[in-house]
Symmetry: C2
């Protein structure tokens, strides 16, 4: 087998983890292969704070044999070389005199310099980058490279890009199955939904996760709410004020709030410029709360502003089989400033899916 093929096996192992269990860590899988090419041990990272994939693989191997000095370690991510919640994996590899390490993707964390440390210790290092590994760890890579959560924008429009009529009615553009997909696939995988007070009040949506045959699950919500409208007495009946045990409502504002709040409501204070919150400060706070991946379900203005500020990494656009001709109907991307053809925002098509009569188009944005 080739290095890439052994790495594919390690990659498969890495996918056994549940994304929410490992946050803020990446998916990592590792295998140890002896001189005959036999896989003698395997491991994957299962839970943040617990052992890394390399450690599990090495410990498994040690139960079978004393020396690993004839072995090659295949690991999907550059081994860590710093003290985090666990000691550096490079130390363990060096201590066990492992002959060779083959690495499937590099760690974007500048604290990690595993490749160099291994080389300095005289270990043969092969870097064999597999793009699918990096893609699968996009949340982790974006968190470190861009110092912010990964943002997935979801919107549902008519064929001509409208999300609501001029009276604000948006129910229902897309079909039941598309809405089910939003719950079961999109909301299920993220740490929070980002939206605006205007959208929350207008749609009065639960913003929870509903799966067929299961009880509704909680999901944290980050609400851009400069004037803290959500805290008005009149808004206390909103559907998103369901009893929360392990999720929160975060209100992003530039106002001071002096009163007590229930445990599940938290204020995030930041400056606003031209109506838009300060993205670096909110991003930093969200990462500190282990909110690594966010689904953006706002209105046209938030969508436009976030695209304009390079905050969106993926677009999931559900297109309904209808036209809303009215120019005053609401656009999915509402942006008042000039953008000429040669300044257009380029996307990369990554998936198309037919959901009954709706079409889901998925695009990636590169930053």
């Amino acid at each position: 087998m080739t290095s890439a093929e052994y790495l594919q096996i390690a990659f498969l192992l890495s996918k056994r983890a549940n994304s929410k269990d490992i946050r803020p860590n990446p998916f990592v899988g590792a295998i140890l292969v002896n001189q005959k090419g036999e896989i003698i041990a395997e491991g994957y990272h299962k839970k943040a704070g617990e052992a890394h994939a390399e450690v599990i693989a090495i410990n498994n191997a040690k139960q079978k044999r004393d020396s690993l000095s004839d072995c090659t370690l295949y690991v999907t991510l550059e081994p860590c070389s710093h003290f985090g919640k666990t000691p550096p994996c490079t130390n363990l590899i060096i201590d066990h005199k492992i002959a060779k390490v083959v690495i499937g993707s590099l760690d974007p964390n500048p604290l990690v310099d595993g490749v160099q440390q291994l080389k300095d210790a005289g270990i043969d290092v092969e870097i064999c980058l597999l793009p699918e590994i990096e893609t699968f760890n996009s949340v982790f890579n974006i968190n470190h490279r861009l110092k912010r959560p990964k943002y997935i924008l979801k919107t549902a429009t008519t064929l001509n890009g409208k999300i609501a009529d001029r009276a604000g009615t948006s129910k229902w553009i897309t079909n039941n199955s598309s809405r089910k997909y939003v719950h079961e696939i999109l909301r299920s995988s993220v740490d929070a939904i980002l939206t605006t007070a205007k959208t929350v009040i207008q749609d009065n949506a639960n913003l929870n996760i509903r799966r067929e045959g299961k009880e509704a699950e909680e999901l944290s919500v980050i609400i851009i709410d400069r004037n803290l409208e959500i805290l008005n007495n009149a808004q206390q009946q909103l559907a998103l004020f369901y009893p929360r045990v392990h999720s929160k409502i975060y209100l992003v504002t530039d106002k001071k709030y002096e009163h007590d709040l229930p445990n599940h409501i938290e204020i995030i204070e930041t400056v606003f410029t031209n109506g838009m919150y300060d993205t670096p400060s909110l991003n930093k706070i969200l990462l500190s709360k282990n909110i690594c991946e966010v689904l953006v379900e706002g209105g046209g203005k938030l969508n436009g502003a976030m695209i304009n500020e390079n905050q969106i990494d993926e677009i999931n656009l559900f297109i309904a089989p209808s036209l809303l001709l009215d120019n005053q109907a609401i656009n999915a991307f509402n942006w008042e400033e000039l953008q000429l053809m040669d300044q257009k925002t380029n996307l990369k098509l990554i998936e198309t899916k037919i959901i009954e009569q709706d079409v889901l188009l998925r695009y990636q944005l590169m930053h």
Copy 2:
């Protein structure tokens, strides 16, 4: 074999014809089957003015045997019962004492009453409607049912429905392969393009048919040009004034034009209401010129007005992997009037196609 299966064979035969050769007629195929279930003769309608499918099948059979009185005729369309360019097919069927006629689709032409005439003559008639036959003859059916050409709207937009930036630049939203598809698949099959003087002048497009490795082919163009701007001296250099032998430029206006015009330019005079031409009069004139199927390649206003007046039968929307955020960028459907969610125009998704990074969505509109 069942009736539907024999009709499928006749349907296959019907497709041998070239759509432009038979206009304004439909595709028709016919087979004659003897008592043993053997196909003894076949026929299809090849060219307007020439023999109908039933006639060809019957004449072929007559060369082999004298009597057809034990035979069943399977024909994809109700046989004609009136004198058109050829005598009624029902007469021939009755004259040959054919035992049974199985019909795959009914003729929308009110002059045709073939089913009743055959029954009155004592012939056993079975109606076995196959929706695919009716769909395949959509041009013919729309021409008769709606008394107008079939209109296919083609537009190419960003993901948020924009066809040009606010400066009017539309080159190029979609990729080369999508534009090739427009020439080789869409323009190749229609009798004319419908557009506006504004679009023609702005884009200065040839509006001809270019196929790889072939010389450009002519295509007639119908231009909504209320003020006859196309005839201004300044416009004489437009790319669509290429030498024309068998195609024309039709200018739709409410102005009188008293001067001479070259043979390939024709004025169509009609009234205009709220900036929109009178659709019934233009439609009647186009059908009289044997323009049965038209590709609409106009701007947002024409698209909006035609959808609003129920003039569009199919939409071909090419979606490019880009966003043009500017609210003042030009919409593919530009319509100033109110349309609320419950009044939205419903479409039927009929095809999705990935063309490199572009996505083509095809929708049908039912009237």
